[in-house]
Protein backbone atom coordinates (compact mmCIF):
# COMPACT_ATOMS: atom_id res chain seq x y z
CA UNK A 1 0.00 0.00 0.00
CA UNK A 2 1.38 3.44 -0.90
CA UNK A 3 0.34 7.07 -0.83
CA UNK A 4 -1.22 9.43 -3.37
CA UNK A 5 -1.43 13.19 -3.08
CA UNK A 6 -4.96 14.00 -4.25
CA UNK A 7 -5.80 16.94 -6.50
CA UNK A 8 -5.69 20.37 -4.86
CA UNK A 9 -9.34 21.18 -4.16
CA UNK A 10 -8.78 24.81 -3.08
CA UNK A 11 -7.65 27.90 -4.94
CA UNK A 12 -4.19 29.13 -4.00
CA UNK A 13 -1.93 31.79 -5.48
CA UNK A 14 0.45 30.75 -8.25
CA UNK A 15 3.44 31.06 -5.93
CA UNK A 16 1.84 29.00 -3.17
CA UNK A 17 0.74 26.32 -5.61
CA UNK A 18 4.18 26.03 -7.22
CA UNK A 19 5.86 26.02 -3.80
CA UNK A 20 3.52 23.29 -2.57
CA UNK A 21 4.37 20.97 -5.44
CA UNK A 22 8.04 21.80 -5.28
CA UNK A 23 8.14 20.48 -1.74
CA UNK A 24 5.84 17.59 -2.61
CA UNK A 25 8.56 16.31 -4.93
CA UNK A 26 10.47 15.26 -1.78
CA UNK A 27 7.55 13.77 0.15
CA UNK A 28 7.04 10.03 0.47
CA UNK A 29 4.10 9.84 -1.95
CA UNK A 30 4.15 7.49 -4.92
CA UNK A 31 1.93 9.64 -7.08
CA UNK A 32 0.48 13.11 -7.40
CA UNK A 33 -2.87 14.07 -8.94
CA UNK A 34 -2.77 17.49 -10.58
CA UNK A 35 -5.15 19.95 -12.16
CA UNK A 36 -8.28 21.97 -11.42
CA UNK A 37 -11.18 19.68 -10.54
CA UNK A 38 -13.57 22.15 -8.91
CA UNK A 39 -14.11 25.42 -10.78
CA UNK A 40 -13.28 26.54 -14.32
CA UNK A 41 -12.97 30.15 -13.19
CA UNK A 42 -9.85 29.26 -11.24
CA UNK A 43 -7.20 30.02 -13.82
CA UNK A 44 -4.06 31.20 -12.02
CA UNK A 45 -2.60 27.96 -13.28
CA UNK A 46 -3.65 27.05 -16.77
CA UNK A 47 -3.16 23.65 -18.34
CA UNK A 48 0.40 24.42 -19.59
CA UNK A 49 1.34 25.40 -16.02
CA UNK A 50 -0.05 22.17 -14.65
CA UNK A 51 1.81 20.22 -17.34
CA UNK A 52 4.95 22.03 -16.29
CA UNK A 53 4.45 20.97 -12.67
CA UNK A 54 3.64 17.46 -13.92
CA UNK A 55 6.93 17.27 -15.81
CA UNK A 56 8.93 18.29 -12.76
CA UNK A 57 7.20 15.81 -10.48
CA UNK A 58 7.62 13.03 -13.02
CA UNK A 59 11.33 13.90 -13.21
CA UNK A 60 11.43 13.57 -9.42
CA UNK A 61 10.16 10.02 -9.78
CA UNK A 62 6.47 10.54 -9.00
CA UNK A 63 3.70 8.96 -11.01
CA UNK A 64 1.68 11.93 -12.26
CA UNK A 65 -2.06 11.80 -12.93
CA UNK A 66 -4.02 14.68 -14.46
CA UNK A 67 -7.40 15.01 -12.77
CA UNK A 68 -10.35 16.32 -14.79
CA UNK A 69 -13.05 18.79 -13.78
CA UNK A 70 -15.98 17.17 -11.96
CA UNK A 71 -18.79 19.42 -13.16
CA UNK A 72 -18.59 20.14 -16.88
CA UNK A 73 -20.94 22.95 -17.89
CA UNK A 74 -19.66 24.72 -20.98
CA UNK A 75 -17.99 24.14 -24.30
CA UNK A 76 -14.81 25.73 -22.92
CA UNK A 77 -14.81 23.17 -20.10
CA UNK A 78 -14.92 20.48 -22.79
CA UNK A 79 -12.03 22.12 -24.66
CA UNK A 80 -9.79 21.86 -21.61
CA UNK A 81 -10.89 18.27 -21.12
CA UNK A 82 -10.01 17.40 -24.73
CA UNK A 83 -6.60 19.02 -24.36
CA UNK A 84 -5.88 16.96 -21.25
CA UNK A 85 -6.84 13.77 -23.04
CA UNK A 86 -4.86 14.69 -26.19
CA UNK A 87 -1.68 15.54 -24.30
CA UNK A 88 -1.10 11.86 -23.73
CA UNK A 89 2.03 12.12 -21.58
CA UNK A 90 0.35 11.40 -18.28
CA UNK A 91 -2.31 9.13 -16.91
CA UNK A 92 -5.69 10.89 -16.54
CA UNK A 93 -8.29 10.61 -13.78
CA UNK A 94 -11.83 10.81 -15.20
CA UNK A 95 -14.22 12.54 -12.81
CA UNK A 96 -17.34 12.42 -14.98
CA UNK A 97 -18.54 10.24 -17.84
CA UNK A 98 -17.75 12.67 -20.64
CA UNK A 99 -14.08 12.21 -19.75
CA UNK A 100 -14.63 8.44 -19.77
CA UNK A 101 -15.98 8.72 -23.30
CA UNK A 102 -12.99 10.74 -24.54
CA UNK A 103 -10.40 8.56 -22.80
CA UNK A 104 -11.90 5.32 -24.05
CA UNK A 105 -12.08 6.73 -27.59
CA UNK A 106 -8.41 7.64 -27.29
CA UNK A 107 -7.79 4.07 -26.15
CA UNK A 108 -5.64 5.11 -23.23
CA UNK A 109 -5.68 3.66 -19.72
CA UNK A 110 -7.21 5.91 -17.07
CA UNK A 111 -8.14 6.26 -13.41
CA UNK A 112 -11.88 6.12 -12.62
CA UNK A 113 -12.37 8.94 -10.11
CA UNK A 114 -14.52 9.03 -6.97
CA UNK A 115 -17.37 11.00 -8.56
CA UNK A 116 -18.13 8.40 -11.24
CA UNK A 117 -20.37 6.70 -8.67
CA UNK A 118 -18.98 3.19 -8.77
CA UNK A 119 -21.04 1.34 -6.19
CA UNK A 120 -20.94 -2.22 -7.59
CA UNK A 121 -18.55 -4.57 -9.43
CA UNK A 122 -20.70 -4.55 -12.58
CA UNK A 123 -20.13 -0.81 -13.10
CA UNK A 124 -16.44 -1.22 -12.29
CA UNK A 125 -16.35 -3.95 -14.92
CA UNK A 126 -17.88 -1.59 -17.51
CA UNK A 127 -15.07 0.86 -16.74
CA UNK A 128 -12.38 -1.83 -16.82
CA UNK A 129 -13.49 -2.77 -20.33
CA UNK A 130 -13.15 0.88 -21.36
CA UNK A 131 -9.59 1.18 -20.05
CA UNK A 132 -9.78 1.99 -16.33
CA UNK A 133 -6.84 0.47 -14.47
CA UNK A 134 -7.31 2.13 -11.09
CA UNK A 135 -10.49 3.35 -9.39
CA UNK A 136 -11.78 5.13 -6.30
CA UNK A 137 -15.09 4.38 -4.61
CA UNK A 138 -17.38 7.31 -3.75
CA UNK A 139 -16.26 8.75 -0.40
CA UNK A 140 -19.46 7.59 1.31
CA UNK A 141 -18.74 3.90 0.68
CA UNK A 142 -18.15 1.86 3.84
CA UNK A 143 -15.53 -0.77 4.51
CA UNK A 144 -18.10 -3.56 4.29
CA UNK A 145 -19.64 -2.20 1.06
CA UNK A 146 -16.16 -1.94 -0.44
CA UNK A 147 -15.40 -5.49 0.67
CA UNK A 148 -18.57 -6.77 -1.04
CA UNK A 149 -17.60 -4.96 -4.23
CA UNK A 150 -14.00 -6.15 -4.20
CA UNK A 151 -15.11 -9.77 -3.88
CA UNK A 152 -16.13 -9.53 -7.53
CA UNK A 153 -13.87 -6.78 -8.86
CA UNK A 154 -12.35 -7.24 -12.31
CA UNK A 155 -8.83 -8.68 -12.35
CA UNK A 156 -5.88 -6.30 -12.43
CA UNK A 157 -7.83 -3.32 -11.13
CA UNK A 158 -6.08 -1.21 -8.50
CA UNK A 159 -8.17 0.33 -5.72
CA UNK A 160 -7.39 3.74 -4.26
CA UNK A 161 -9.31 5.04 -1.24
CA UNK A 162 -9.79 8.64 -0.17
CA UNK A 163 -8.18 8.30 3.26
CA UNK A 164 -7.42 11.78 4.56
CA UNK A 165 -8.85 15.27 4.25
CA UNK A 166 -12.06 17.22 4.29
CA UNK A 167 -14.57 15.19 2.32
CA UNK A 168 -15.73 16.59 -1.01
CA UNK A 169 -19.47 16.05 -0.55
CA UNK A 170 -21.34 18.03 -3.21
CA UNK A 171 -21.02 20.12 -6.36
CA UNK A 172 -23.33 22.86 -7.58
CA UNK A 173 -23.79 25.31 -10.41
CA UNK A 174 -23.94 27.93 -7.73
CA UNK A 175 -20.82 29.33 -6.09
CA UNK A 176 -21.40 29.46 -2.35
CA UNK A 177 -18.28 31.51 -1.71
CA UNK A 178 -19.49 34.21 -4.12
CA UNK A 179 -22.93 33.94 -2.51
CA UNK A 180 -21.40 34.56 0.89
CA UNK A 181 -19.89 37.80 -0.39
CA UNK A 182 -23.08 38.76 -2.25
CA UNK A 183 -21.21 38.61 -5.53
CA UNK A 184 -22.48 37.09 -8.76
CA UNK A 185 -20.57 33.95 -9.76
CA UNK A 186 -19.45 35.54 -13.02
CA UNK A 187 -17.84 38.37 -11.03
CA UNK A 188 -16.72 36.43 -7.97
CA UNK A 189 -13.51 38.46 -7.58
CA UNK A 190 -11.85 35.12 -6.88
CA UNK A 191 -12.66 35.26 -3.19
CA UNK A 192 -11.68 31.59 -2.88
CA UNK A 193 -8.10 32.89 -2.81
CA UNK A 194 -8.83 34.33 0.65
CA UNK A 195 -9.78 30.89 1.96
CA UNK A 196 -6.91 28.48 1.34
CA UNK A 197 -8.71 25.76 3.30
CA UNK A 198 -12.26 26.80 2.44
CA UNK A 199 -14.81 28.85 4.33
CA UNK A 200 -16.10 27.21 7.54
CA UNK A 201 -19.87 26.77 7.88
CA UNK A 202 -21.32 26.09 11.33
CA UNK A 203 -24.79 25.39 12.65
CA UNK A 204 -26.71 28.14 14.45
CA UNK A 205 -25.39 26.77 17.72
CA UNK A 206 -21.84 27.22 16.48
CA UNK A 207 -20.95 23.60 15.76
CA UNK A 208 -18.65 23.14 12.75
CA UNK A 209 -20.63 21.31 10.06
CA UNK A 210 -19.49 21.94 6.48
CA UNK A 211 -16.84 23.82 4.53
CA UNK A 212 -17.67 26.05 1.58
CA UNK A 213 -15.19 25.79 -1.28
CA UNK A 214 -16.63 27.68 -4.23
CA UNK A 215 -19.09 25.42 -6.04
CA UNK A 216 -17.99 22.49 -3.90
CA UNK A 217 -19.26 21.71 -0.41
CA UNK A 218 -16.96 19.79 1.87
CA UNK A 219 -17.27 18.36 5.35
CA UNK A 220 -15.99 20.36 8.30
CA UNK A 221 -14.66 17.17 9.84
CA UNK A 222 -11.45 15.73 8.43
CA UNK A 223 -11.81 12.19 7.15
CA UNK A 224 -9.00 10.18 8.60
CA UNK A 225 -8.40 6.46 8.14
CA UNK A 226 -4.97 6.31 9.78
CA UNK A 227 -6.37 3.90 12.38
CA UNK A 228 -7.81 1.67 9.66
CA UNK A 229 -4.65 0.61 7.88
CA UNK A 230 -5.04 -3.08 8.82
CA UNK A 231 -8.55 -3.29 7.35
CA UNK A 232 -7.47 -1.35 4.25
CA UNK A 233 -4.59 -3.78 3.73
CA UNK A 234 -6.85 -6.74 4.27
CA UNK A 235 -9.13 -5.48 1.50
CA UNK A 236 -6.20 -5.25 -0.88
CA UNK A 237 -6.38 -1.47 -1.26
CA UNK A 238 -3.33 -0.36 -3.26
CA UNK A 239 -3.19 3.39 -2.57
CA UNK A 240 -4.40 5.89 -0.02
CA UNK A 241 -5.36 9.35 -1.20
CA UNK A 242 -4.36 12.26 1.02
CA UNK A 243 -6.14 15.48 0.13
CA UNK A 244 -4.03 18.68 0.23
CA UNK A 245 -4.44 21.27 3.00
CA UNK A 246 -2.62 24.60 3.07
CA UNK A 247 -0.52 24.00 6.19
CA UNK A 248 1.46 21.03 7.52
CA UNK A 249 0.75 18.81 4.52
CA UNK A 250 4.25 17.40 4.72
CA UNK A 251 3.60 16.30 8.30
CA UNK A 252 0.33 14.68 7.22
CA UNK A 253 2.11 12.72 4.51
CA UNK A 254 4.92 11.73 6.86
CA UNK A 255 2.47 10.61 9.54
CA UNK A 256 0.76 8.27 7.06
CA UNK A 257 4.12 7.07 5.77
CA UNK A 258 5.23 6.30 9.33
CA UNK A 259 1.94 4.56 10.11
CA UNK A 260 2.36 2.39 7.01
CA UNK A 261 5.80 1.47 8.29
CA UNK A 262 4.23 0.39 11.59
CA UNK A 263 4.79 3.44 13.78
CA UNK A 264 1.94 3.30 16.32
CA UNK A 265 2.55 6.88 17.49
CA UNK A 266 1.94 8.39 14.04
CA UNK A 267 -1.81 8.87 14.56
CA UNK A 268 -1.31 10.99 17.65
CA UNK A 269 1.18 13.19 15.81
CA UNK A 270 -1.24 13.60 12.92
CA UNK A 271 -4.02 14.78 15.23
CA UNK A 272 -1.92 17.88 16.05
CA UNK A 273 -1.86 19.14 12.46
CA UNK A 274 -5.43 18.39 11.37
CA UNK A 275 -7.52 21.46 10.48
CA UNK A 276 -10.65 20.00 12.05
CA UNK A 277 -12.04 17.12 14.09
CA UNK A 278 -11.35 13.60 12.88
CA UNK A 279 -14.33 11.78 11.30
CA UNK A 280 -14.63 8.24 9.97
CA UNK A 281 -18.35 7.43 10.13
CA UNK A 282 -18.55 6.58 6.44
CA UNK A 283 -15.93 3.86 6.75
CA UNK A 284 -17.98 2.25 9.52
CA UNK A 285 -21.26 2.46 7.62
CA UNK A 286 -22.65 5.36 9.64
CA UNK A 287 -23.26 9.07 9.19
CA UNK A 288 -20.10 10.59 7.72
CA UNK A 289 -19.71 13.13 10.51
CA UNK A 290 -19.43 10.47 13.20
CA UNK A 291 -16.19 9.32 14.69
CA UNK A 292 -15.37 5.85 15.92
CA UNK A 293 -14.91 6.47 19.64
CA UNK A 294 -13.09 3.18 20.15
CA UNK A 295 -10.10 4.71 18.37
CA UNK A 296 -8.07 7.80 19.26
CA UNK A 297 -10.20 10.47 20.99
Amino acid sequence: MNLSLGPLLYYWSREDTFAFYESAADWPVARVYLGETVCSRRHLLRLPDWLDVAGKLAAAGKEVVLSTQTLIESESDLKVLRKIVRDGRFLVEANEWGAVRLLSEAKVPFVAGPTLNIYNPQTLDVLAALGARRWLPPVEVSRSALAALLDHAPAGMETEVFAYGRLPLAYSARCFTARHYNLPKDDCQFRCLDHPDGLPLATREGKPFLTINGIQTQSAGVYNLIDELPSLRELGVACLRLSPQSRHMERVVKAYDAALAGDASAAAGLAKVMPGASVDGYWHGRAGLEHDATQHG
Binding site: L71, I72, E73, S74, E75, D77, L78, L81, E96, W97, G98, A99, V100, R101, L102, T115, N117, Y119, N120, P121, Q122, T123, V126, L127, P138, V139, E140, A145, A148, L149, D151, H152, L167, L169, A170, Y171, S172, A173, R174, F176, H180, P184, D186, L199, L201, A202, T203, R204, K207, F209, L210, I212, T217, S219, G281, Y282, R286, A287, G288, L289
Partner: protein
Protein backbone atom coordinates in the same frame (compact mmCIF):
# COMPACT_ATOMS: atom_id res chain seq x y z
CA UNK B 1 -43.57 15.34 -30.05
CA UNK B 2 -41.77 18.11 -28.13
CA UNK B 3 -42.53 19.22 -24.56
CA UNK B 4 -44.08 16.03 -23.33
CA UNK B 5 -45.44 16.59 -19.82
CA UNK B 6 -44.00 14.05 -17.39
CA UNK B 7 -45.69 14.02 -13.97
CA UNK B 8 -44.92 12.36 -10.65
CA UNK B 9 -46.89 9.36 -9.41
CA UNK B 10 -46.14 8.38 -5.83
CA UNK B 11 -49.36 6.38 -5.61
CA UNK B 12 -52.14 5.03 -7.80
CA UNK B 13 -54.32 7.99 -6.80
CA UNK B 14 -51.61 10.43 -7.88
CA UNK B 15 -51.10 8.52 -11.12
CA UNK B 16 -54.78 8.78 -11.99
CA UNK B 17 -54.80 12.45 -11.03
CA UNK B 18 -51.88 13.13 -13.35
CA UNK B 19 -53.41 11.21 -16.27
CA UNK B 20 -56.88 12.74 -15.77
CA UNK B 21 -55.41 16.24 -15.79
CA UNK B 22 -53.33 15.91 -18.90
CA UNK B 23 -49.95 14.30 -18.21
CA UNK B 24 -48.44 12.70 -21.32
CA UNK B 25 -46.46 10.36 -19.11
CA UNK B 26 -46.08 9.59 -15.43
CA UNK B 27 -43.09 8.25 -13.57
CA UNK B 28 -43.21 5.91 -10.60
CA UNK B 29 -40.97 3.76 -8.45
CA UNK B 30 -41.20 0.34 -6.87
CA UNK B 31 -41.73 0.09 -3.15
CA UNK B 32 -38.06 -0.17 -2.09
CA UNK B 33 -34.74 1.68 -2.30
CA UNK B 34 -34.32 1.10 -6.04
CA UNK B 35 -35.63 4.63 -6.60
CA UNK B 36 -34.68 8.05 -5.24
CA UNK B 37 -37.96 8.57 -3.37
CA UNK B 38 -37.81 5.52 -1.12
CA UNK B 39 -40.23 6.93 1.45
CA UNK B 40 -42.52 4.87 3.68
CA UNK B 41 -46.06 4.58 2.28
CA UNK B 42 -45.00 5.74 -1.17
CA UNK B 43 -44.58 3.92 -4.50
CA UNK B 44 -45.99 0.81 -6.17
CA UNK B 45 -46.08 -2.94 -5.74
CA UNK B 46 -46.45 -5.04 -8.89
CA UNK B 47 -50.25 -5.24 -8.78
CA UNK B 48 -50.59 -1.47 -8.36
CA UNK B 49 -48.01 -0.87 -11.08
CA UNK B 50 -49.96 -3.13 -13.44
CA UNK B 51 -53.18 -1.27 -12.67
CA UNK B 52 -51.44 2.06 -13.20
CA UNK B 53 -50.06 0.89 -16.54
CA UNK B 54 -53.52 -0.25 -17.63
CA UNK B 55 -55.03 3.08 -16.63
CA UNK B 56 -52.38 5.05 -18.52
CA UNK B 57 -52.24 2.84 -21.62
CA UNK B 58 -56.05 2.77 -21.97
CA UNK B 59 -55.83 6.55 -22.31
CA UNK B 60 -52.84 6.57 -24.63
CA UNK B 61 -50.33 7.77 -22.01
CA UNK B 62 -47.00 6.35 -20.87
CA UNK B 63 -45.54 5.07 -17.63
CA UNK B 64 -41.84 5.40 -16.85
CA UNK B 65 -40.18 3.55 -14.00
CA UNK B 66 -37.53 5.31 -11.92
CA UNK B 67 -34.79 2.81 -11.03
CA UNK B 68 -32.38 5.57 -10.33
CA UNK B 69 -30.43 4.74 -7.22
CA UNK B 70 -27.04 3.05 -7.41
CA UNK B 71 -27.21 -0.73 -6.90
CA UNK B 72 -25.19 -1.90 -3.91
CA UNK B 73 -22.89 -4.88 -4.37
CA UNK B 74 -24.51 -7.21 -1.85
CA UNK B 75 -28.06 -6.47 -2.99
CA UNK B 76 -27.40 -6.20 -6.75
CA UNK B 77 -30.22 -8.66 -7.48
CA UNK B 78 -32.79 -6.25 -6.06
CA UNK B 79 -31.98 -3.85 -8.90
CA UNK B 80 -31.77 -6.44 -11.68
CA UNK B 81 -34.98 -7.93 -10.32
CA UNK B 82 -36.60 -4.51 -10.65
CA UNK B 83 -35.46 -4.30 -14.30
CA UNK B 84 -36.94 -7.79 -14.87
CA UNK B 85 -40.23 -6.73 -13.30
CA UNK B 86 -40.32 -3.50 -15.33
CA UNK B 87 -39.84 -5.39 -18.58
CA UNK B 88 -42.45 -7.98 -17.63
CA UNK B 89 -44.98 -5.32 -16.63
CA UNK B 90 -44.49 -3.53 -19.94
CA UNK B 91 -43.09 -0.20 -18.68
CA UNK B 92 -42.66 2.30 -21.50
CA UNK B 93 -39.15 3.10 -20.25
CA UNK B 94 -36.90 2.65 -17.25
CA UNK B 95 -34.99 5.63 -15.86
CA UNK B 96 -31.53 4.46 -14.81
CA UNK B 97 -28.43 6.09 -13.34
CA UNK B 98 -25.99 3.19 -12.98
CA UNK B 99 -23.86 2.05 -15.93
CA UNK B 100 -23.65 -1.55 -14.70
CA UNK B 101 -27.42 -1.75 -14.46
CA UNK B 102 -27.78 -0.27 -17.95
CA UNK B 103 -25.51 -2.99 -19.30
CA UNK B 104 -27.73 -5.59 -17.65
CA UNK B 105 -30.91 -4.03 -19.08
CA UNK B 106 -29.53 -3.84 -22.63
CA UNK B 107 -28.26 -7.40 -22.51
CA UNK B 108 -31.46 -8.96 -21.23
CA UNK B 109 -34.13 -6.64 -22.62
CA UNK B 110 -32.79 -5.02 -25.79
CA UNK B 111 -36.27 -3.68 -26.61
CA UNK B 112 -36.67 -1.91 -23.26
CA UNK B 113 -36.37 1.85 -23.66
CA UNK B 114 -33.73 3.44 -21.41
CA UNK B 115 -33.69 6.96 -20.02
CA UNK B 116 -30.68 8.39 -18.22
CA UNK B 117 -31.78 9.61 -14.80
CA UNK B 118 -30.86 13.01 -13.45
CA UNK B 119 -29.01 10.99 -10.82
CA UNK B 120 -26.57 10.00 -13.59
CA UNK B 121 -25.16 13.58 -13.35
CA UNK B 122 -24.62 13.99 -17.10
CA UNK B 123 -24.16 17.70 -17.77
CA UNK B 124 -22.37 17.64 -21.14
CA UNK B 125 -23.16 16.12 -24.52
CA UNK B 126 -19.98 14.05 -24.21
CA UNK B 127 -21.44 12.34 -21.15
CA UNK B 128 -24.93 12.01 -22.68
CA UNK B 129 -23.46 10.56 -25.87
CA UNK B 130 -21.44 8.07 -23.84
CA UNK B 131 -24.67 6.53 -22.56
CA UNK B 132 -26.15 6.59 -26.06
CA UNK B 133 -23.19 4.77 -27.61
CA UNK B 134 -22.76 2.16 -24.94
CA UNK B 135 -26.32 1.46 -23.83
CA UNK B 136 -28.61 2.97 -26.45
CA UNK B 137 -30.06 5.50 -24.03
CA UNK B 138 -32.82 7.42 -25.79
CA UNK B 139 -33.50 10.23 -23.37
CA UNK B 140 -31.47 12.04 -20.71
CA UNK B 141 -32.74 14.11 -17.82
CA UNK B 142 -30.29 16.96 -17.18
CA UNK B 143 -29.28 18.02 -13.66
CA UNK B 144 -30.65 21.39 -12.57
CA UNK B 145 -27.27 23.10 -12.96
CA UNK B 146 -27.01 24.30 -16.56
CA UNK B 147 -28.05 27.68 -17.90
CA UNK B 148 -30.44 27.63 -20.87
CA UNK B 149 -27.70 28.37 -23.44
CA UNK B 150 -25.69 25.50 -21.95
CA UNK B 151 -28.74 23.23 -22.23
CA UNK B 152 -29.12 24.29 -25.85
CA UNK B 153 -25.51 23.36 -26.53
CA UNK B 154 -26.21 19.85 -25.22
CA UNK B 155 -29.36 19.53 -27.32
CA UNK B 156 -27.51 20.60 -30.50
CA UNK B 157 -24.78 18.04 -30.04
CA UNK B 158 -26.66 14.86 -29.24
CA UNK B 159 -29.36 12.75 -30.86
CA UNK B 160 -30.57 11.85 -27.36
CA UNK B 161 -33.88 13.43 -26.33
CA UNK B 162 -33.42 15.94 -23.52
CA UNK B 163 -35.81 16.18 -20.57
CA UNK B 164 -35.66 19.13 -18.16
CA UNK B 165 -37.08 19.74 -14.74
CA UNK B 166 -39.85 22.33 -14.98
CA UNK B 167 -41.38 22.58 -11.55
CA UNK B 168 -41.04 21.43 -7.96
CA UNK B 169 -38.35 20.95 -5.38
CA UNK B 170 -35.04 22.47 -6.35
CA UNK B 171 -31.81 20.57 -5.86
CA UNK B 172 -29.11 23.19 -5.57
CA UNK B 173 -26.44 20.50 -5.98
CA UNK B 174 -25.73 18.37 -9.03
CA UNK B 175 -28.01 15.38 -8.62
CA UNK B 176 -26.06 12.17 -8.10
CA UNK B 177 -23.09 14.21 -6.81
CA UNK B 178 -24.46 15.20 -3.43
CA UNK B 179 -23.57 13.30 -0.27
CA UNK B 180 -24.66 15.94 2.24
CA UNK B 181 -27.51 13.74 3.43
CA UNK B 182 -25.33 10.71 4.15
CA UNK B 183 -22.69 12.89 5.80
CA UNK B 184 -25.36 13.96 8.27
CA UNK B 185 -27.57 10.86 8.53
CA UNK B 186 -25.81 7.91 6.89
CA UNK B 187 -28.31 7.80 4.01
CA UNK B 188 -27.99 9.54 0.64
CA UNK B 189 -30.09 9.55 -2.54
CA UNK B 190 -27.37 7.57 -4.35
CA UNK B 191 -27.18 4.65 -1.98
CA UNK B 192 -30.42 4.71 0.02
CA UNK B 193 -32.87 6.57 -2.20
CA UNK B 194 -33.55 9.30 0.34
CA UNK B 195 -32.38 12.84 1.11
CA UNK B 196 -32.67 14.21 4.65
CA UNK B 197 -34.79 11.16 5.65
CA UNK B 198 -37.88 11.78 7.77
CA UNK B 199 -36.77 9.25 10.39
CA UNK B 200 -33.73 11.43 11.17
CA UNK B 201 -35.77 14.62 11.58
CA UNK B 202 -36.45 16.04 15.03
CA UNK B 203 -38.64 19.06 15.83
CA UNK B 204 -38.38 20.78 19.19
CA UNK B 205 -40.08 23.81 20.68
CA UNK B 206 -37.53 25.79 22.69
CA UNK B 207 -37.40 29.17 24.41
CA UNK B 208 -35.57 30.56 21.37
CA UNK B 209 -38.03 29.15 18.84
CA UNK B 210 -38.97 25.97 16.98
CA UNK B 211 -35.87 23.95 16.12
CA UNK B 212 -35.44 21.48 13.30
CA UNK B 213 -32.65 18.96 13.54
CA UNK B 214 -31.40 16.23 11.28
CA UNK B 215 -29.72 13.43 13.23
CA UNK B 216 -29.09 15.96 15.97
CA UNK B 217 -27.57 18.62 13.71
CA UNK B 218 -29.40 21.94 14.05
CA UNK B 219 -30.65 22.91 10.58
CA UNK B 220 -32.77 25.89 11.52
CA UNK B 221 -34.56 27.75 14.26
CA UNK B 222 -37.82 29.52 13.48
CA UNK B 223 -39.19 32.65 15.09
CA UNK B 224 -42.86 32.96 16.03
CA UNK B 225 -43.97 34.40 12.70
CA UNK B 226 -41.77 32.25 10.52
CA UNK B 227 -43.20 29.32 8.60
CA UNK B 228 -41.18 26.16 9.16
CA UNK B 229 -40.52 24.00 6.11
CA UNK B 230 -39.35 20.40 5.78
CA UNK B 231 -35.75 20.35 7.03
CA UNK B 232 -33.92 19.53 3.81
CA UNK B 233 -30.26 19.86 4.68
CA UNK B 234 -29.23 22.33 1.95
CA UNK B 235 -32.10 24.67 2.83
CA UNK B 236 -31.19 25.30 6.44
CA UNK B 237 -29.78 28.49 7.93
CA UNK B 238 -26.16 28.34 8.95
CA UNK B 239 -23.39 30.57 10.26
CA UNK B 240 -20.59 31.61 7.95
CA UNK B 241 -18.08 34.23 9.21
CA UNK B 242 -20.50 35.36 11.91
CA UNK B 243 -23.43 35.79 9.54
CA UNK B 244 -26.52 33.59 9.79
CA UNK B 245 -28.33 33.00 6.47
CA UNK B 246 -29.42 30.44 3.93
CA UNK B 247 -25.81 29.69 3.06
CA UNK B 248 -26.63 27.19 0.32
CA UNK B 249 -30.22 27.79 -0.81
CA UNK B 250 -33.46 29.34 0.38
CA UNK B 251 -36.51 27.13 0.79
CA UNK B 252 -37.85 27.79 -2.68
CA UNK B 253 -39.18 25.84 -5.66
CA UNK B 254 -38.16 25.70 -9.27
CA UNK B 255 -40.70 27.14 -11.66
CA UNK B 256 -39.80 27.51 -15.34
CA UNK B 257 -43.17 28.48 -16.87
CA UNK B 258 -41.55 31.69 -18.16
CA UNK B 259 -38.99 29.70 -20.11
CA UNK B 260 -41.41 27.46 -22.02
CA UNK B 261 -41.11 29.30 -25.36
CA UNK B 262 -37.31 28.97 -25.29
CA UNK B 263 -37.51 25.32 -24.28
CA UNK B 264 -39.90 24.62 -27.14
CA UNK B 265 -37.67 26.44 -29.60
CA UNK B 266 -34.54 24.56 -28.64
CA UNK B 267 -36.28 21.22 -28.97
CA UNK B 268 -36.63 20.02 -25.39
CA UNK B 269 -38.40 16.66 -25.54
CA UNK B 270 -40.04 16.64 -22.15
CA UNK B 271 -40.67 18.66 -19.01
CA UNK B 272 -40.52 16.86 -15.72
CA UNK B 273 -42.54 17.84 -12.67
CA UNK B 274 -40.82 16.88 -9.42
CA UNK B 275 -42.77 15.49 -6.48
CA UNK B 276 -43.56 11.80 -6.15
CA UNK B 277 -43.80 12.45 -2.41
CA UNK B 278 -46.64 14.95 -2.99
CA UNK B 279 -50.38 14.37 -2.62
CA UNK B 280 -52.82 13.56 -5.45
CA UNK B 281 -54.37 17.02 -4.90
CA UNK B 282 -50.99 18.64 -5.51
CA UNK B 283 -50.41 16.54 -8.62
CA UNK B 284 -53.87 17.50 -9.90
CA UNK B 285 -53.26 21.23 -9.55
CA UNK B 286 -49.73 21.27 -10.94
CA UNK B 287 -50.56 19.00 -13.87
CA UNK B 288 -53.59 21.09 -14.80
CA UNK B 289 -51.56 24.31 -14.89
CA UNK B 290 -48.68 22.80 -16.84
CA UNK B 291 -51.01 21.11 -19.35
CA UNK B 292 -52.65 24.46 -20.05
CA UNK B 293 -49.29 26.21 -20.30
CA UNK B 294 -47.73 23.67 -22.67
CA UNK B 295 -50.84 23.69 -24.87
CA UNK B 296 -50.72 27.48 -24.96
CA UNK B 297 -47.04 27.70 -25.86
CA UNK B 298 -47.44 25.13 -28.60
CA UNK B 299 -50.36 27.06 -30.06
CA UNK B 300 -48.45 30.32 -30.12
CA UNK B 301 -44.94 30.52 -28.72
CA UNK B 302 -44.38 34.10 -29.85
CA UNK B 303 -47.17 35.59 -27.79
CA UNK B 304 -46.91 33.18 -24.85
CA UNK B 305 -47.17 34.80 -21.43
CA UNK B 306 -47.86 32.69 -18.34
CA UNK B 307 -51.38 33.49 -17.15
CA UNK B 308 -51.32 35.25 -13.74
CA UNK B 309 -53.73 32.61 -12.44
CA UNK B 310 -51.23 29.83 -13.26
CA UNK B 311 -48.40 31.57 -11.43
CA UNK B 312 -50.60 32.29 -8.43
CA UNK B 313 -51.72 28.68 -8.25
CA UNK B 314 -48.18 27.31 -8.57
CA UNK B 315 -46.81 29.75 -5.99
CA UNK B 316 -49.37 28.51 -3.51
CA UNK B 317 -47.97 25.03 -3.98
CA UNK B 318 -44.32 26.07 -3.87
CA UNK B 319 -41.96 25.46 -1.00
CA UNK B 320 -41.71 28.71 0.94
CA UNK B 321 -44.41 30.11 -1.38
CA UNK B 322 -41.70 31.41 -3.66
CA UNK B 323 -40.07 30.23 -6.85
CA UNK B 324 -36.91 30.65 -8.87
CA UNK B 325 -35.70 29.96 -12.40
CA UNK B 326 -32.72 28.25 -10.80
CA UNK B 327 -29.58 27.72 -12.82
CA UNK B 328 -31.43 28.12 -16.14
CA UNK B 329 -31.21 31.82 -15.35
CA UNK B 330 -27.54 32.79 -15.02
CA UNK B 331 -27.78 35.33 -12.13
CA UNK B 332 -29.08 32.59 -9.79
CA UNK B 333 -25.61 31.05 -9.78
Amino acid sequence: MPLELVCPAGSLMALKAAIDNGADAVYMGFRDNTNARAFPGLNFDDAQAAEGLRYAHDRGRKVLLALNTYPQSDTWQRWTGAVDRAAKLGMDAVILADAGLMRYAVKHYPALRLHLSVQGSATSYEAVNFYREHFGVQRAVLPRVLSLPQVENVVKNTPVEIELFGFGGLCVMVEGRCLLSSYCTGESPNSAGVCSPAKSVQWKETSTGLESRLNGVLLDRYGKDEKAGYPTLCKGRFEVSGETYYALEEPTSLNTLDLLPEMLKMGIAAIKIEGRQRSPAYVTQVTRVWRAAIDAVKKNAESFVPAPGWMAELNKLSEGQSHTLGAYHRPWK
